[in-house]
């Protein structure tokens, strides 16, 4: 007998009244709807709005479009895709974007997979130490490496201090110093740790018995790799590749630092320039393109992961960990790993650090060393006459960074945990499903496009909300929205592990909702909450995209401060600021590892 047949003596009205009475006893649903509303406003509205802007005449463009502001127009689409300017303003940057993204994706996949295999599956010497060292670049902002590159290899094409190579008498062609080549190289370096983490985890779960079974049957090592390991790893490999690609198309800071001197533009830098020159309609088109490519890529990834689950032999519980002996390859492999540590960590950080204590680049004489750029006073520069540690600009920027990013991260963490709670407890399924999806959505949207979307929505007053541009508020809100994927993932996974019995037993003991939150859930989830706050904090502190679009000099933060220093050619000071950012990010990551005992890999995957 089904429900339909035996409860139909109840009228729908009676059922709804009963539901209502129950809902009144428990604020879960109400909070869920509240969260949905907040995220609709912070995440969905800006993105929908920016897509509308593409077709709307912007203020100031009345002459060009021959229509009043606010009317529907195809002008911006035409200008970007099909005008005389298209090839310069769109097709060339698009080509550059694809070139950089795809090449660095492929390179980092190849190198990263080899390193992951060496670390996880072989008896590589010092693998414990190496697996930490090789991950370090992941914790640092990408443009740290871009700055290191200019520090070392800048040539005389643009003014300011030369790079070390130039200073030592080597003439470098432009293509080495700027543009596609260094951009690809730096982005590759930046993504390698990511591949090591994701592919390494997948390899760890791959049962080595499968491999051995193949070898027992007499297959050669190469054959085993090709016919057993590779097919089983394909989902993880594809997924890493797509995640990297989606991230790379929105990457702003590296092409900005390295592409500027030779007019090497990508979609992200073009978007920035369009906003800088008040071409909001065109900017909206760029944002839309980045957005669509990002969403399409990650939709593809989700779809493929679903497909992959069909043959989930990977992750059998008794997966055995057995390592292959490298034999004569031991030395070359170890050297390869060490070289990667040198290129990815030692050289760039060393160069940056050294550059901040040297007057002139590349000259290693005792008299050339100085601490002026850190703690000097009355320097012979136009602005910034004190070392950064003694300058108020630095401390102001540091304070804004920490206070804006910090408060946004705390909010994101709390919202993330609440989201986790509602996703698992909501009596209405649609509330949990839509909350889970909407909080993950910003992950699909490259930061620079998201920032542009935020700008278009919140730069003008809407109803009771005043125009927020130029206030810390817009940064604060954008950061929260941008960090929700990490925060909500942390919250959902923490709440999944907790289960509902612990809370139910508090209910039975007589604890109301607030009491359960504060006496049971939050204390138990203390570490998860810290992670849900720290993860957004680290990625917010080192992030550039949001700030470059949404910050104004009044809301200077560390990243915009250092980019301004780069623009003014204060190389040493800029490098010093970047080192400080890297330091904060590094310590934050170490703190998370200490607290959770797991590390970032899990956070990325779940």
């Amino acid at each position: 007998m089904t429900e339909i047949s035996h409860t139909n003596h109840l009228s729908p009205l009676q059922k709804w009244r009963h539901r209502l009475v129950i809902a009144k006893c428990d604020p879960t649903l109400l909070i869920g709807l509240g969260l949905l509303f907040i995220f609709a406003w912070l995440i969905a509205a800006p993105i929908i709005n920016v897509l509308f802007e593409v077709f709307t005449v912007q203020t100031g463009d009345e002459m060009r479009t021959g229509a009043d502001a606010g009317q529907v127009t195809g002008y911006y689409l035409e200008r970007v895709f099909a005008s005389r300017m298209s090839s310069i303003i769109f097709w060339k940057p698009l080509w550059n974007t694809l070139l950089v993204s795809i090449t660095s994706m492929l390179l980092s996949m190849v190198i990263g997979s080899i390193l992951a295999w060496l670390l996880v599956r072989t008896n590589l010497m010092g693998r414990r130490w190496l697996s930490t060292a090789l991950i370090i670049p992941f914790m640092l902002p990408a443009w740290t490496f871009a700055l290191a590159w200019t520090t070392l290899f800048k040539n005389a094409t643009i003014g300011g201090q030369p790079g070390w190579a130039e200073a030592m008498g080597y003439q470098l062609p432009d293509w080495v110093s700027y543009g596609a080549f260094p951009t690809i190289l730096i982005m590759t370096l930046n993504y390698i740790p990511f591949v090591i983490l994701l592919v390494g985890n997948a390899l760890r779960r791959l049962d080595s018995q499968l491999e051995e079974a193949g070898q027992m049957l007499g297959a050669s090592r190469g054959r085993v790799a090709l016919s057993i390991v590779f097919p089983l790893m394909r989902p993880a490999l594809m997924s890493s590749a797509l995640l990297i690609f989606a991230d790379a198309i929105g990457e702003f800071s590296v092409p900005y630092v390295l592409g500027l001197p030779v007019q090497f533009e990508t979609l992200a830098t073009s978007l920035y320039r369009a906003i800088g020159t008040q071409q909001n309609g065109v900017a909206a088109v760029f944002a839309g393109v980045i957005l669509v490519v990002g969403i399409a890529t990650l939709a593809l990834d989700t779809w493929m992961m679903r497909e992959a689950r069909r043959f989930a032999i990977i992750g059998s519980k008794g997966a055995m960990e057995r390592r292959q002996s490298l034999g004569w390859l031991q030395w070359p492999a170890t050297i390869l790993a060490l070289v990667m540590v040198f290129i990815g960590v030692v050289a760039p950080l060393g160069a940056l650090a050294l550059s901040t204590v040297m007057h002139l680049p590349g000259r290693f004489e005792l008299s050339n060393f100085t601490l002026d750029y850190w703690i000097g006073t009355n320097l012979d520069t136009v602005a910034l006459r004190n070392g950064i540690l003694l300058s108020s600009e630095f401390w102001n920027a540091a304070w804004s960074s920490i206070s804006i990013v910090g408060s946004a991260s705390i909010c994101a963490g709390i919202l993330g945990l609440l989201t986790g709670y509602i996703v698992l407890r909501s009596p209405l399924k649609f509330v949990s499903v839509s909350l889970r999806q909407i909080t993950f959505f910003p992950y699909l949207v490259p930061g620079i496009a998201f920032a542009a979307a935020f700008l278009t929505l919140f730069a003008v007053p809407h109803g009771p909300i005043p125009a927020l541009y130029g206030t810390p508020m817009i940064l604060f809100l954008a950061l929260i929205a941008d960090q929700m994927p990490f925060a909500s993932r942390a919250g959902i996974s923490a709440m999944t592990q907790l289960g509902s019995d612990v809370e139910d037993s508090a209910r039975v003991a007589g604890a109301g909702w607030l009491r359960r939150m504060f006496s049971i859930i939050l204390p138990i989830q203390r570490n998860a909450l810290v992670t849900a706050v720290l993860m957004p904090f680290i990625s917010g502190i080192k992030g550039v995209s949001l700030f470059i679009i949404l910050a104004v000099p009044a809301t200077d933060v560390l990243t915009t401060f250092s980019i301004r220093l780069i623009d003014f050619n204060y190389t040493q000071a800029a490098n010093a600021v970047v080192l400080m950012i890297a330091l904060i990010a590094l310590f934050g990551t170490i703190l998370i590892n200490r607290l959770t005992g797991t590390g970032l890999a899990q956070g990325l995957e779940s």
């Binding site: 007998m1 089904t2 429900e3 339909i4 035996h6 409860t7 109840l10 009676q14 059922k15 009244r17 009963h18 209502l20 009475v21 129950i22 006893c25 428990d26 289960g499 019995d501 612990v502 139910d504 037993s505 508090a506 209910r507 039975v508 003991a509 007589g510 604890a511 109301g512 009491r515 006496s519 049971i520 204390p523 138990i524 203390r526």
Partner: protein, 390 residues
């Protein structure tokens, strides 16, 4: 101290799926020890959670001590935190961030008891449940049995009128189970609390309960004393679910069945599809053939420590062999392959019609002589039940 009435309660988690609980009614008397028994997934936990207020009803009504806890038609619902019903979870669900003492104290704090009284109560509970010395430990530092006792202490400290227990013994090893079972009986007698105890272990139910409710697929099959359930199963499901090894079920229309009914003094006319159940311990084997006994062959003898399981095949010329299981507590004098003659005590026989409903036997006139000569080994749990409950 409390009684609970379930009036036609139903629970449907997902629309369109069969309900997890389907129109269950029962009356749980003040001071009863009610066991809800049934196979996994039959809706036992769901019933407990609905009584506790952790799930709401899809239909029906729950009343405790005259207070309506949940009524769909009238739109009434009292949330779990206001019901003052104790529930011990299958998983114990101790709060991992609180020490044992704090776990026990938490509910008392919510009740607003002053600190001194709380201390006293906590100390009492700790002594009563023999968890002295563990006060300052965290749940993760306790063994399963200790956690279980803390969970009980935490619930009992609130002195609930109704105590719901969801398979609280299932995670314990055999000896701990035995001592916890004795403990529960003692608590029940000492406090006079109404207890609803969920289990899928029939032995546990038989030894503990004053009343047993047998469930299957969300519906109530039978409710009654342990004796009722075993001696007078209301339907085929109950007969087959209770008893270990399970009851022998054969078609009542076969020749051996007819013969066995005849020797027990029952009329042999049965309708189509009727099944005859034979409790294994009610089978009697002898060497002498009589006109009414059924010839069988001993297939196998399995010692199970103090008792024996004997597998038989009825000697008959039909194509499909008819196998029966017999249990005895006297050492068997048989060898594998021996021929024997089978009779069955009348009280070990049950008749079920084609719908599975219990059907009374019609007696033949000479029945009385058989009914009194019950030299049958009684089932082991009805013995221990008598010790435990009286």
């Amino acid at each position: 101290m409390s009684n609970i009435t379930l009036n036609n309660i139903s629970k449907c988690y997902t629309q369109g799926h069969p309900p997890a609980v389907d129109q269950v009614s029962m009356e749980i008397q003040d001071g009863a020890f009610m066991c809800v028994l049934g196979p996994s997934g039959c809706g036992k936990s769901t019933i407990l959670r609905m009584i506790a207020g952790l799930e709401h009803l899809s239909d029906g009504e729950i009343v405790a001590d005259g207070r309506v806890l949940d009524n769909v038609a009238k739109g009434l619902f009292i949330p779990a935190e206001k019901r003052q019903i104790g529930l011990v979870f299958q998983s114990y669900a101790l709060w991992p961030h609180m020490t044992v003492a704090r776990n026990i104290e938490f509910g008392l704090r919510l009740k607003g008891l002053p600190a001194k009284e709380r201390k006293k109560l906590v100390a009492e509970m700790i002594v009563m449940l023999k968890i002295e010395g563990l006060e300052d430990r965290y749940p993760a530092q306790l063994s399963g049995g200790q956690q279980q006792r803390v969970a009980l202490a935490r619930t009992l400290a609130m002195n609930p009128g109704i105590l719901l227990l969801d398979e609280p013994l299932s995670n314990l090893d055999a000896s701990l189970r035995l001592s916890m079972r004795a403990e529960l009986t003692r608590l029940h007698q000492e406090f006079g609390t109404t207890i609803v105890f969920v289990t899928h272990d029939q032995w546990e139910a038989m030894t503990l309960a004053t009343q047993i409710a047998v469930m299957n697929k969300g519906t109530l099959q039978q409710i009654g004393t342990p004796d009722d359930i075993y001696e007078r199963p209301a339907n085929r499901f109950v007969a087959e679910f209770i008893g270990n090894p399970p009851i022998n079920m054969i078609s009542a229309e076969t020749k051996p069945a007819q013969q066995l009914m005849h020797q027990a003094g029952f009329s042999m006319s049965v309708s189509e599809g009727t099944q005859l159940g034979l409790r294994p311990e009610g089978l009697q084997l002898s060497r002498e053939a009589s006109s009414s006994s059924v010839p069988v062959t001993i297939n196998d003898i399995l010692p199970t420590g103090g008792a024996w399981i004997i597998e038989l095949t009825v000697d008959q010329d039909e194509t499909s062999p008819l196998n029966l299981v017999h249990t005895t507590q006297t050492p068997p004098l048989w060898q594998r392959g021996d021929q024997a003659n089978l009779k069955v005590a009348s009280h070990a026989m049950h008749l079920f019609n084609a719908d599975g409903k219990r059907q009374p036997f019609a007696l033949t006139p000479k029945a009385a002589t058989y009914r009194t000569s019950a030299d049958v080994v009684s089932p082991d749990f009805s013995q221990s039940k008598i010790e435990d409950i009286s």
